[in-house]
Protein backbone atom coordinates (compact mmCIF):
# COMPACT_ATOMS: atom_id res chain seq x y z
CA UNK A 1 0.00 0.00 0.00
CA UNK A 2 1.62 3.22 -1.11
CA UNK A 3 0.20 6.35 0.33
CA UNK A 4 -1.05 9.09 -1.93
CA UNK A 5 0.89 11.94 -0.40
CA UNK A 6 4.16 10.11 -0.90
CA UNK A 7 3.50 9.80 -4.61
CA UNK A 8 2.28 13.38 -4.69
CA UNK A 9 5.42 14.72 -3.06
CA UNK A 10 7.64 12.53 -5.20
CA UNK A 11 6.27 13.90 -8.45
CA UNK A 12 5.55 17.43 -7.37
CA UNK A 13 8.87 19.02 -8.17
CA UNK A 14 8.95 17.90 -11.78
CA UNK A 15 5.40 19.10 -12.45
CA UNK A 16 5.56 22.67 -11.21
CA UNK A 17 4.20 25.57 -13.22
CA UNK A 18 6.54 28.58 -13.23
CA UNK A 19 6.18 30.25 -9.82
CA UNK A 20 4.76 33.39 -11.43
CA UNK A 21 1.66 31.49 -12.63
CA UNK A 22 0.11 30.11 -9.42
CA UNK A 23 1.46 33.01 -7.35
CA UNK A 24 -0.30 35.62 -9.51
CA UNK A 25 -3.63 33.92 -8.71
CA UNK A 26 -2.79 33.66 -5.01
CA UNK A 27 -1.52 37.26 -4.93
CA UNK A 28 -4.69 38.52 -6.59
CA UNK A 29 -6.75 36.54 -4.07
CA UNK A 30 -4.90 38.24 -1.20
CA UNK A 31 -5.52 41.69 -2.73
CA UNK A 32 -9.21 40.98 -3.45
CA UNK A 33 -9.59 39.71 0.13
CA UNK A 34 -8.52 43.11 1.39
CA UNK A 35 -10.72 44.92 -1.15
CA UNK A 36 -13.69 42.75 -0.16
CA UNK A 37 -13.48 43.82 3.47
CA UNK A 38 -12.98 47.46 2.45
CA UNK A 39 -16.10 47.19 0.27
CA UNK A 40 -17.92 45.58 3.21
CA UNK A 41 -16.84 48.52 5.38
CA UNK A 42 -18.13 50.94 2.74
CA UNK A 43 -21.42 49.00 2.74
CA UNK A 44 -21.77 48.70 6.52
CA UNK A 45 -24.99 50.68 6.70
CA UNK A 46 -26.59 48.53 3.98
CA UNK A 47 -25.70 45.08 5.32
CA UNK A 48 -28.55 44.46 7.76
CA UNK A 49 -31.22 45.13 5.11
CA UNK A 50 -29.36 43.66 2.15
CA UNK A 51 -31.61 41.50 -0.03
CA UNK A 52 -29.74 41.53 -3.34
CA UNK A 53 -29.42 44.16 -6.06
CA UNK A 54 -26.53 46.35 -7.16
CA UNK A 55 -24.53 48.13 -4.46
CA UNK A 56 -21.44 47.68 -2.30
CA UNK A 57 -22.76 44.65 -0.38
CA UNK A 58 -23.09 42.76 -3.69
CA UNK A 59 -19.65 44.00 -4.74
CA UNK A 60 -18.12 42.82 -1.43
CA UNK A 61 -19.79 39.44 -1.83
CA UNK A 62 -18.39 38.95 -5.34
CA UNK A 63 -14.95 40.22 -4.36
CA UNK A 64 -14.95 37.28 -1.94
CA UNK A 65 -16.56 34.63 -4.17
CA UNK A 66 -14.83 35.50 -7.45
CA UNK A 67 -11.83 37.41 -6.18
CA UNK A 68 -10.75 35.19 -3.31
CA UNK A 69 -12.49 31.81 -3.50
CA UNK A 70 -12.55 31.12 -7.24
CA UNK A 71 -9.21 32.89 -7.80
CA UNK A 72 -7.53 30.62 -5.24
CA UNK A 73 -9.33 27.54 -6.56
CA UNK A 74 -8.16 28.28 -10.11
CA UNK A 75 -4.53 28.77 -9.05
CA UNK A 76 -4.52 25.73 -6.77
CA UNK A 77 -6.28 23.39 -9.19
CA UNK A 78 -4.14 24.38 -12.19
CA UNK A 79 -1.01 23.64 -10.17
CA UNK A 80 -2.08 20.73 -7.99
CA UNK A 81 -4.30 18.62 -10.25
CA UNK A 82 -1.57 17.79 -12.80
CA UNK A 83 0.68 16.76 -9.92
CA UNK A 84 -2.01 14.70 -8.21
CA UNK A 85 -3.14 13.00 -11.39
CA UNK A 86 0.42 12.43 -12.65
CA UNK A 87 0.43 14.55 -15.78
CA UNK A 88 3.14 16.72 -17.26
CA UNK A 89 2.59 20.48 -17.38
CA UNK A 90 1.60 21.03 -21.00
CA UNK A 91 0.37 24.59 -21.04
CA UNK A 92 1.73 27.67 -19.32
CA UNK A 93 0.25 30.40 -21.52
CA UNK A 94 -3.32 29.17 -20.93
CA UNK A 95 -3.23 29.64 -17.15
CA UNK A 96 -1.54 33.03 -17.57
CA UNK A 97 -4.24 34.11 -20.04
CA UNK A 98 -6.95 32.97 -17.61
CA UNK A 99 -5.51 35.39 -15.07
CA UNK A 100 -5.31 38.30 -17.51
CA UNK A 101 -8.95 37.83 -18.47
CA UNK A 102 -10.27 36.94 -15.06
CA UNK A 103 -8.51 39.26 -12.57
CA UNK A 104 -9.30 42.57 -14.34
CA UNK A 105 -12.78 41.16 -15.03
CA UNK A 106 -13.40 40.63 -11.31
CA UNK A 107 -12.21 44.17 -10.54
CA UNK A 108 -14.47 45.69 -13.23
CA UNK A 109 -17.44 43.53 -12.21
CA UNK A 110 -17.11 44.51 -8.54
CA UNK A 111 -16.77 48.17 -9.43
CA UNK A 112 -19.81 47.89 -11.68
CA UNK A 113 -21.80 46.29 -8.88
CA UNK A 114 -20.60 48.76 -6.25
CA UNK A 115 -21.26 51.90 -8.32
CA UNK A 116 -24.40 50.51 -9.94
CA UNK A 117 -23.00 50.82 -13.47
CA UNK A 118 -24.54 48.11 -15.69
CA UNK A 119 -22.10 48.77 -18.57
CA UNK A 120 -19.09 48.17 -16.32
CA UNK A 121 -20.90 45.16 -14.89
CA UNK A 122 -21.27 43.73 -18.39
CA UNK A 123 -17.63 44.40 -19.33
CA UNK A 124 -16.39 42.85 -16.08
CA UNK A 125 -18.79 39.96 -16.42
CA UNK A 126 -17.47 39.34 -19.93
CA UNK A 127 -13.89 39.14 -18.65
CA UNK A 128 -14.86 36.88 -15.77
CA UNK A 129 -16.91 34.64 -18.06
CA UNK A 130 -14.14 34.39 -20.66
CA UNK A 131 -11.56 33.63 -17.99
CA UNK A 132 -13.73 30.98 -16.38
CA UNK A 133 -14.54 29.35 -19.74
CA UNK A 134 -10.84 29.13 -20.58
CA UNK A 135 -10.17 27.76 -17.11
CA UNK A 136 -12.95 25.21 -17.62
CA UNK A 137 -11.19 24.04 -20.79
CA UNK A 138 -7.85 23.68 -18.96
CA UNK A 139 -9.48 21.86 -16.06
CA UNK A 140 -11.30 19.52 -18.44
CA UNK A 141 -8.02 18.72 -20.22
CA UNK A 142 -6.41 17.96 -16.85
CA UNK A 143 -9.30 15.75 -15.83
CA UNK A 144 -9.39 13.92 -19.18
CA UNK A 145 -5.71 12.99 -18.84
CA UNK A 146 -5.96 12.10 -15.15
CA UNK A 147 -4.56 8.82 -13.85
CA UNK A 148 -5.70 7.60 -10.44
CA UNK A 149 -7.45 9.51 -7.66
CA UNK A 150 -11.00 8.79 -8.93
CA UNK A 151 -12.66 10.65 -6.07
CA UNK A 152 -10.79 13.87 -6.75
CA UNK A 153 -11.36 13.57 -10.50
CA UNK A 154 -15.11 12.98 -10.01
CA UNK A 155 -15.32 16.08 -7.82
CA UNK A 156 -13.48 18.01 -10.54
CA UNK A 157 -15.94 16.96 -13.26
CA UNK A 158 -18.96 17.78 -11.08
CA UNK A 159 -17.46 21.17 -10.19
CA UNK A 160 -16.98 21.82 -13.89
CA UNK A 161 -20.63 20.96 -14.63
CA UNK A 162 -21.70 23.25 -11.78
CA UNK A 163 -19.52 26.02 -13.25
CA UNK A 164 -21.52 25.84 -16.48
CA UNK A 165 -24.75 26.42 -14.52
CA UNK A 166 -23.09 29.27 -12.61
CA UNK A 167 -21.95 30.96 -15.83
CA UNK A 168 -25.34 30.64 -17.53
CA UNK A 169 -27.22 32.01 -14.52
CA UNK A 170 -24.62 34.77 -14.02
CA UNK A 171 -25.06 35.83 -17.65
CA UNK A 172 -28.80 35.88 -17.14
CA UNK A 173 -28.53 37.97 -13.96
CA UNK A 174 -26.18 40.48 -15.62
CA UNK A 175 -28.49 40.61 -18.66
CA UNK A 176 -31.38 41.46 -16.33
CA UNK A 177 -29.55 44.63 -15.28
CA UNK A 178 -29.08 45.45 -18.97
CA UNK A 179 -32.81 45.08 -19.53
CA UNK A 180 -32.59 41.74 -21.36
CA UNK A 181 -33.57 39.02 -18.87
CA UNK A 182 -32.91 35.48 -20.10
CA UNK A 183 -34.27 33.45 -17.17
CA UNK A 184 -36.68 34.17 -14.36
CA UNK A 185 -34.57 36.23 -11.91
CA UNK A 186 -35.68 34.31 -8.81
CA UNK A 187 -34.91 30.94 -10.38
CA UNK A 188 -31.59 32.17 -11.80
CA UNK A 189 -30.58 33.53 -8.40
CA UNK A 190 -31.48 30.32 -6.56
CA UNK A 191 -29.54 28.24 -9.11
CA UNK A 192 -26.62 30.67 -9.00
CA UNK A 193 -26.27 30.56 -5.20
CA UNK A 194 -26.56 26.77 -4.91
CA UNK A 195 -24.33 25.88 -7.86
CA UNK A 196 -21.68 28.51 -7.09
CA UNK A 197 -21.47 27.94 -3.32
CA UNK A 198 -22.05 24.21 -2.95
CA UNK A 199 -21.44 23.26 -6.58
CA UNK A 200 -18.40 24.81 -8.21
CA UNK A 201 -16.56 26.07 -5.12
CA UNK A 202 -17.93 23.49 -2.70
CA UNK A 203 -17.08 20.48 -4.83
CA UNK A 204 -13.61 21.82 -5.68
CA UNK A 205 -12.99 22.42 -1.97
CA UNK A 206 -14.17 18.92 -1.01
CA UNK A 207 -12.21 17.28 -3.85
CA UNK A 208 -8.96 19.14 -3.24
CA UNK A 209 -9.30 18.44 0.50
CA UNK A 210 -8.92 14.70 -0.25
CA UNK A 211 -5.52 15.55 -1.66
CA UNK A 212 -4.34 18.39 0.53
CA UNK A 213 -5.49 17.44 4.02
CA UNK A 214 -3.75 14.01 4.01
CA UNK A 215 -0.71 15.62 2.41
CA UNK A 216 -0.32 18.28 5.08
CA UNK A 217 -1.26 15.94 7.94
CA UNK A 218 0.91 13.18 6.40
CA UNK A 219 -1.90 10.68 6.54
CA UNK A 220 -3.08 7.81 4.34
CA UNK A 221 -5.30 8.73 1.39
CA UNK A 222 -9.00 8.62 2.36
CA UNK A 223 -11.00 5.61 1.17
CA UNK A 224 -11.75 6.26 -2.54
CA UNK A 225 -15.10 4.42 -2.42
CA UNK A 226 -16.36 6.61 0.41
CA UNK A 227 -15.10 9.70 -1.43
CA UNK A 228 -17.28 8.64 -4.36
CA UNK A 229 -20.30 7.98 -2.12
CA UNK A 230 -19.92 11.46 -0.63
CA UNK A 231 -19.53 12.89 -4.16
CA UNK A 232 -22.67 11.04 -5.33
CA UNK A 233 -24.71 12.44 -2.43
CA UNK A 234 -23.45 15.94 -3.20
CA UNK A 235 -24.40 15.58 -6.87
CA UNK A 236 -27.90 14.33 -5.91
CA UNK A 237 -28.19 17.30 -3.55
CA UNK A 238 -27.30 19.74 -6.33
CA UNK A 239 -29.71 18.12 -8.79
CA UNK A 240 -32.55 18.36 -6.25
CA UNK A 241 -31.65 21.98 -5.42
CA UNK A 242 -31.58 22.75 -9.15
CA UNK A 243 -34.98 21.21 -9.76
CA UNK A 244 -36.40 23.04 -6.73
CA UNK A 245 -34.99 26.33 -8.03
CA UNK A 246 -36.83 25.71 -11.31
CA UNK A 247 -40.08 25.32 -9.41
CA UNK A 248 -40.38 21.53 -9.14
CA UNK A 249 -41.69 20.67 -5.65
CA UNK A 250 -39.68 23.57 -4.27
CA UNK A 251 -39.94 22.93 -0.53
CA UNK A 252 -39.82 19.12 -0.63
CA UNK A 253 -36.88 18.96 -3.04
CA UNK A 254 -34.96 21.61 -1.09
CA UNK A 255 -35.33 19.49 2.05
CA UNK A 256 -34.20 16.38 0.12
CA UNK A 257 -31.26 18.37 -1.27
CA UNK A 258 -30.23 19.47 2.22
CA UNK A 259 -30.54 15.86 3.46
CA UNK A 260 -28.37 14.56 0.64
CA UNK A 261 -25.95 17.43 1.24
CA UNK A 262 -25.80 16.49 4.91
CA UNK A 263 -24.92 12.88 4.00
CA UNK A 264 -22.17 14.10 1.64
CA UNK A 265 -20.86 16.47 4.31
CA UNK A 266 -21.00 13.85 7.07
CA UNK A 267 -19.05 11.33 5.00
CA UNK A 268 -16.52 13.93 3.91
CA UNK A 269 -15.92 15.14 7.44
CA UNK A 270 -15.64 11.57 8.72
CA UNK A 271 -12.93 10.92 6.11
CA UNK A 272 -11.16 14.14 7.04
CA UNK A 273 -11.33 13.30 10.74
CA UNK A 274 -9.92 9.84 10.05
CA UNK A 275 -7.06 11.36 8.05
CA UNK A 276 -6.25 13.90 10.76
CA UNK A 277 -6.35 11.25 13.50
CA UNK A 278 -4.11 8.90 11.51
CA UNK A 279 -1.80 11.69 10.35
CA UNK A 280 1.73 11.81 11.70
CA UNK A 281 1.70 15.58 11.88
CA UNK A 282 -0.64 16.46 14.71
CA UNK A 283 0.02 20.15 15.26
CA UNK A 284 -1.17 21.80 12.06
CA UNK A 285 -1.24 25.26 13.55
CA UNK A 286 -3.47 28.22 12.82
CA UNK A 287 -4.12 27.14 9.24
CA UNK A 288 -6.04 24.07 10.30
CA UNK A 289 -7.91 26.01 12.97
CA UNK A 290 -9.26 27.99 10.01
CA UNK A 291 -9.97 24.79 8.09
CA UNK A 292 -11.90 23.38 11.06
CA UNK A 293 -13.82 26.67 11.32
CA UNK A 294 -14.72 26.22 7.67
CA UNK A 295 -15.97 22.68 8.20
CA UNK A 296 -18.12 23.88 11.10
CA UNK A 297 -19.49 26.57 8.82
CA UNK A 298 -20.38 23.97 6.19
CA UNK A 299 -22.45 21.98 8.68
CA UNK A 300 -24.18 25.05 10.12
CA UNK A 301 -24.83 26.44 6.63
CA UNK A 302 -26.91 23.34 5.86
CA UNK A 303 -28.96 23.94 9.02
CA UNK A 304 -29.45 27.56 7.98
CA UNK A 305 -30.43 26.39 4.47
CA UNK A 306 -33.05 24.15 6.05
CA UNK A 307 -34.32 27.11 8.04
CA UNK A 308 -34.55 29.20 4.85
CA UNK A 309 -36.31 26.36 2.97
CA UNK A 310 -38.86 25.95 5.78
CA UNK A 311 -39.21 29.73 6.25
CA UNK A 312 -38.07 29.58 9.89
CA UNK A 313 -38.79 32.77 11.88
CA UNK A 314 -35.18 33.81 12.47
CA UNK A 315 -34.30 37.47 11.78
CA UNK A 316 -32.01 37.87 8.76
CA UNK A 317 -31.87 34.13 8.11
CA UNK A 318 -31.18 34.31 4.33
CA UNK A 319 -28.30 36.72 4.97
CA UNK A 320 -27.01 34.54 7.80
CA UNK A 321 -27.12 31.57 5.44
CA UNK A 322 -25.02 33.53 2.93
CA UNK A 323 -22.53 34.49 5.64
CA UNK A 324 -22.22 30.88 6.80
CA UNK A 325 -21.82 29.52 3.27
CA UNK A 326 -19.43 32.10 1.87
CA UNK A 327 -17.72 33.60 4.91
CA UNK A 328 -17.53 30.83 7.47
CA UNK A 329 -17.32 27.70 5.30
CA UNK A 330 -15.62 28.65 2.05
CA UNK A 331 -13.55 31.70 3.02
CA UNK A 332 -12.20 30.16 6.25
CA UNK A 333 -11.37 26.89 4.49
CA UNK A 334 -9.71 28.55 1.50
CA UNK A 335 -7.62 30.97 3.58
CA UNK A 336 -6.55 28.13 5.87
CA UNK A 337 -5.49 25.91 3.00
CA UNK A 338 -3.86 28.81 1.15
CA UNK A 339 -1.57 29.61 4.07
CA UNK A 340 -0.39 25.99 3.91
CA UNK A 341 -0.03 25.80 0.12
CA UNK A 342 1.95 29.02 -0.19
CA UNK A 343 5.03 28.08 1.92
CA UNK A 344 4.91 24.53 0.52
CA UNK A 345 4.93 25.74 -3.09
CA UNK A 346 7.49 28.43 -2.31
CA UNK A 347 9.87 25.85 -0.85
CA UNK A 348 9.37 23.60 -3.88
CA UNK A 349 10.19 26.45 -6.25
CA UNK A 350 13.10 27.63 -4.15
CA UNK A 351 14.48 24.10 -4.11
CA UNK A 352 15.04 23.97 -7.88
CA UNK A 353 18.79 23.87 -8.52
CA UNK A 354 19.66 24.35 -4.85
CA UNK A 355 21.83 21.98 -2.88
CA UNK A 356 20.14 22.76 0.44
CA UNK A 357 16.69 24.12 -0.28
CA UNK A 358 14.93 26.39 2.21
CA UNK A 359 12.31 24.84 4.48
CA UNK A 360 8.61 25.76 4.18
CA UNK A 361 8.67 27.39 7.60
CA UNK A 362 11.42 29.75 6.48
CA UNK A 363 8.81 31.42 4.25
CA UNK A 364 6.22 31.77 7.00
CA UNK A 365 5.55 34.47 9.56
CA UNK A 366 3.41 33.26 12.42
CA UNK A 367 2.35 36.58 13.96
CA UNK A 368 0.40 37.98 10.98
CA UNK A 369 -1.37 34.64 10.61
CA UNK A 370 -2.39 34.59 14.28
CA UNK A 371 -3.62 38.18 13.98
CA UNK A 372 -5.53 37.30 10.82
CA UNK A 373 -7.14 34.31 12.52
CA UNK A 374 -8.34 36.41 15.47
CA UNK A 375 -9.64 39.18 13.19
CA UNK A 376 -11.31 36.73 10.80
CA UNK A 377 -13.26 34.99 13.57
CA UNK A 378 -14.17 38.30 15.24
CA UNK A 379 -15.33 39.75 11.93
CA UNK A 380 -17.54 36.78 11.11
CA UNK A 381 -19.04 36.65 14.60
CA UNK A 382 -19.70 40.41 14.64
CA UNK A 383 -21.21 40.27 11.16
CA UNK A 384 -23.57 37.47 12.23
CA UNK A 385 -24.61 39.54 15.24
CA UNK A 386 -25.03 42.62 13.03
CA UNK A 387 -27.40 40.69 10.76
CA UNK A 388 -29.49 39.28 13.62
CA UNK A 389 -29.73 42.61 15.43
CA UNK A 390 -29.89 44.71 12.23
CA UNK A 391 -27.05 46.86 13.56
CA UNK A 392 -25.00 48.91 11.04
CA UNK A 393 -22.52 49.75 13.82
CA UNK A 394 -21.75 46.08 14.43
CA UNK A 395 -21.45 45.55 10.68
CA UNK A 396 -18.94 48.39 10.56
CA UNK A 397 -16.93 46.92 13.43
CA UNK A 398 -17.02 43.52 11.73
CA UNK A 399 -15.76 44.92 8.44
CA UNK A 400 -13.04 46.89 10.25
CA UNK A 401 -11.83 43.72 11.97
CA UNK A 402 -11.95 41.88 8.64
CA UNK A 403 -9.90 44.64 7.01
CA UNK A 404 -7.21 44.44 9.71
CA UNK A 405 -7.14 40.66 9.29
CA UNK A 406 -6.85 40.97 5.52
CA UNK A 407 -3.94 43.39 5.95
CA UNK A 408 -2.23 40.87 8.23
CA UNK A 409 -2.77 38.13 5.65
CA UNK A 410 -1.32 40.41 2.98
CA UNK A 411 1.73 41.00 5.20
CA UNK A 412 2.22 37.23 5.44
CA UNK A 413 2.00 36.91 1.65
CA UNK A 414 4.32 39.87 1.02
CA UNK A 415 6.95 38.37 3.32
CA UNK A 416 6.69 35.04 1.56
CA UNK A 417 7.08 36.57 -1.90
CA UNK A 418 10.00 38.73 -0.73
CA UNK A 419 11.76 35.70 0.71
CA UNK A 420 11.05 33.68 -2.42
CA UNK A 421 12.43 36.41 -4.65
CA UNK A 422 15.51 36.99 -2.52
CA UNK A 423 18.17 34.37 -1.92
CA UNK A 424 16.78 32.71 1.20
CA UNK A 425 19.07 31.75 4.01
CA UNK A 426 18.45 28.02 4.41
CA UNK A 427 18.97 28.36 8.09
CA UNK A 428 16.20 30.90 8.53
CA UNK A 429 14.37 30.25 11.75
CA UNK A 430 11.56 27.73 11.46
CA UNK A 431 8.11 28.76 12.65
CA UNK A 432 4.83 26.91 12.77
CA UNK A 433 2.35 27.84 10.06
Amino acid sequence: MKLAAGAFLGGAKSRLLPASVPFRFFGAAVVFHLLAWIAALRAAADWPGFAGGLGWPLAALHLVTLGVLAMTAIGASLQLLPVATRQPIRRVRGPALVWWLYAPGVAALALGMGTGAPALLAVGGGGVGAGLLLYAGLLAANLLGARGMPGIVAHGWAALAALVVVLVTAASLVATYLGMPLLDRRAALALHVAFAGYGFMGLLALGLAYLLVPMFALAPAPDARLQLVSWGSAVIALCCAGAAALGVLPVALRVVAIGAGAIATGLHLALMRRALCAGMRKDLGVSFALVRTGWTGLVVSLLAALGVALDAPVPGLPLLFGLLLVGVWLLSFVLGILQRILPFLASMHAAVGKHRPPTPSSFTRRRPLVLHFACHLSALAAMALAIVTASPLLAELAAAAGTIGALAYAAFFATLVRRLAAPVRPSALPAKA
Binding site: G6, L218, P220, R281, S427, L429
Partner: protein
Protein backbone atom coordinates in the same frame (compact mmCIF):
# COMPACT_ATOMS: atom_id res chain seq x y z
CA UNK B 1 0.85 1.88 10.82
CA UNK B 2 1.42 -1.85 10.27
CA UNK B 3 4.36 -3.09 8.19
CA UNK B 4 4.87 -6.66 7.00
CA UNK B 5 8.68 -6.57 6.62
CA UNK B 6 11.35 -6.72 9.33
CA UNK B 7 13.34 -3.98 7.61
CA UNK B 8 10.31 -1.69 7.72
CA UNK B 9 9.84 -2.46 11.42
CA UNK B 10 13.47 -1.71 12.26
CA UNK B 11 13.49 1.56 10.32
CA UNK B 12 10.11 2.55 11.77
CA UNK B 13 11.35 1.90 15.31
CA UNK B 14 14.36 4.13 14.70
CA UNK B 15 12.13 6.80 13.12
CA UNK B 16 9.87 6.82 16.15
CA UNK B 17 12.77 7.06 18.58
CA UNK B 18 14.21 9.92 16.54
CA UNK B 19 10.87 11.72 16.39
CA UNK B 20 10.58 11.48 20.16
CA UNK B 21 14.06 12.92 20.69
CA UNK B 22 13.56 15.62 18.06
CA UNK B 23 10.32 16.63 19.78
CA UNK B 24 12.16 17.01 23.09
CA UNK B 25 14.89 19.10 21.44
CA UNK B 26 12.31 21.33 19.75
CA UNK B 27 10.47 21.85 23.03
CA UNK B 28 13.65 22.63 24.93
CA UNK B 29 14.83 25.12 22.31
CA UNK B 30 11.44 26.85 22.22
CA UNK B 31 12.63 28.52 25.47
CA UNK B 32 16.31 29.08 24.73
CA UNK B 33 17.13 31.04 27.90
CA UNK B 34 15.71 28.35 30.13
CA UNK B 35 17.43 25.62 28.09
CA UNK B 36 20.80 27.37 28.27
CA UNK B 37 20.58 27.48 32.06
CA UNK B 38 19.15 23.97 32.47
CA UNK B 39 21.70 21.32 33.58
CA UNK B 40 19.46 18.59 32.08
CA UNK B 41 19.88 20.17 28.67
CA UNK B 42 23.47 18.93 28.51
CA UNK B 43 22.19 15.34 28.73
CA UNK B 44 19.59 16.03 26.04
CA UNK B 45 22.24 17.64 23.84
CA UNK B 46 24.45 14.57 24.29
CA UNK B 47 21.62 12.27 23.17
CA UNK B 48 20.95 14.60 20.25
CA UNK B 49 24.62 14.55 19.24
CA UNK B 50 24.63 10.72 19.39
CA UNK B 51 21.55 10.59 17.18
CA UNK B 52 23.05 13.00 14.66
CA UNK B 53 26.39 11.21 14.65
CA UNK B 54 25.35 7.58 14.60
CA UNK B 55 21.75 7.14 13.57
CA UNK B 56 21.63 9.59 10.71
CA UNK B 57 24.79 8.30 9.02
CA UNK B 58 24.10 4.58 9.43
CA UNK B 59 20.39 4.80 8.70
CA UNK B 60 20.86 7.01 5.63
CA UNK B 61 23.70 4.89 4.22
CA UNK B 62 21.59 1.74 4.51
CA UNK B 63 18.63 3.32 2.73
CA UNK B 64 20.80 4.77 -0.03
CA UNK B 65 22.74 1.58 -0.66
CA UNK B 66 20.01 -1.03 -0.22
CA UNK B 67 16.61 0.57 -0.65
CA UNK B 68 16.68 3.58 -2.98
CA UNK B 69 18.15 1.65 -5.93
CA UNK B 70 15.41 -0.97 -5.52
CA UNK B 71 12.79 1.81 -5.43
CA UNK B 72 14.20 3.29 -8.63
CA UNK B 73 14.19 -0.14 -10.31
CA UNK B 74 10.52 -0.51 -9.33
CA UNK B 75 9.62 2.74 -11.09
CA UNK B 76 9.64 4.91 -7.96
CA UNK B 77 12.71 6.92 -8.93
CA UNK B 78 10.92 10.24 -8.30
CA UNK B 79 10.39 9.46 -4.65
CA UNK B 80 13.83 7.88 -4.23
CA UNK B 81 15.38 11.00 -5.79
CA UNK B 82 13.42 13.29 -3.47
CA UNK B 83 14.45 11.27 -0.40
CA UNK B 84 18.10 11.26 -1.54
CA UNK B 85 18.05 15.06 -1.94
CA UNK B 86 16.63 15.37 1.57
CA UNK B 87 19.39 13.10 2.92
CA UNK B 88 21.97 15.42 1.35
CA UNK B 89 20.40 18.50 2.92
CA UNK B 90 20.05 16.84 6.32
CA UNK B 91 23.66 15.67 6.25
CA UNK B 92 24.76 19.24 5.57
CA UNK B 93 22.77 20.63 8.50
CA UNK B 94 23.91 17.73 10.67
CA UNK B 95 27.53 18.61 9.96
CA UNK B 96 26.88 22.13 11.25
CA UNK B 97 24.91 21.10 14.29
CA UNK B 98 27.11 18.24 15.51
CA UNK B 99 30.04 20.26 16.95
CA UNK B 100 27.57 22.65 18.57
CA UNK B 101 25.58 19.81 20.14
CA UNK B 102 28.80 18.23 21.43
CA UNK B 103 29.88 21.55 22.93
CA UNK B 104 26.44 21.92 24.57
CA UNK B 105 26.77 18.39 25.97
CA UNK B 106 30.20 19.30 27.38
CA UNK B 107 28.86 22.56 28.81
CA UNK B 108 31.31 24.69 26.82
CA UNK B 109 28.88 26.51 24.54
CA UNK B 110 28.81 30.34 24.82
CA UNK B 111 25.85 32.62 24.09
CA UNK B 112 26.36 33.06 20.33
CA UNK B 113 27.14 29.34 20.09
CA UNK B 114 23.89 28.50 21.82
CA UNK B 115 21.99 30.72 19.38
CA UNK B 116 23.72 28.96 16.48
CA UNK B 117 22.79 25.59 18.00
CA UNK B 118 19.17 26.67 18.33
CA UNK B 119 19.01 27.86 14.72
CA UNK B 120 20.68 24.78 13.24
CA UNK B 121 18.92 22.30 15.52
CA UNK B 122 15.48 23.69 14.71
CA UNK B 123 16.27 23.49 11.01
CA UNK B 124 17.43 19.91 11.46
CA UNK B 125 14.26 19.08 13.40
CA UNK B 126 12.02 20.48 10.66
CA UNK B 127 13.87 18.71 7.87
CA UNK B 128 14.23 15.44 9.74
CA UNK B 129 10.58 15.30 10.91
CA UNK B 130 9.27 16.01 7.39
CA UNK B 131 11.69 13.45 5.98
CA UNK B 132 10.75 10.72 8.44
CA UNK B 133 7.10 11.36 7.73
CA UNK B 134 7.65 11.05 3.99
CA UNK B 135 9.60 7.82 4.43
CA UNK B 136 6.86 6.42 6.64
CA UNK B 137 4.30 7.23 4.00
CA UNK B 138 6.19 6.47 0.81
CA UNK B 139 9.18 4.22 1.52
CA UNK B 140 8.21 1.81 4.27
CA UNK B 141 4.89 0.65 2.75
CA UNK B 142 6.70 0.10 -0.56
CA UNK B 143 9.12 -2.35 1.06
CA UNK B 144 6.27 -4.84 1.49
CA UNK B 145 6.28 -5.18 -2.30
CA UNK B 146 9.96 -4.60 -3.00
CA UNK B 147 11.44 -7.20 -0.63
CA UNK B 148 10.73 -10.92 -0.52
CA UNK B 149 11.02 -12.89 2.74
CA UNK B 150 14.61 -13.96 2.22
CA UNK B 151 15.93 -10.57 1.14
CA UNK B 152 14.04 -8.97 4.02
CA UNK B 153 15.72 -11.31 6.54
CA UNK B 154 19.15 -10.79 4.99
CA UNK B 155 18.89 -7.00 4.95
CA UNK B 156 17.46 -6.82 8.46
CA UNK B 157 20.34 -9.00 9.73
CA UNK B 158 22.96 -6.95 7.88
CA UNK B 159 21.54 -3.72 9.28
CA UNK B 160 21.42 -5.07 12.82
CA UNK B 161 24.99 -6.36 12.51
CA UNK B 162 26.31 -3.15 10.95
Amino acid sequence: MEFARQVSHVLDTEHRANLELLGRIEQALARPQRAAADPDFARLAAAFARMVEQDIGRHFDFEEQQLFPRMADAGEGDIAGLLQEEHDSIREVAAEVLPLARAAAAGTLDGPGFEALRRCALELVERQVAHIQKETMALLPLLDDLLDDELDRTLAFEYAAG
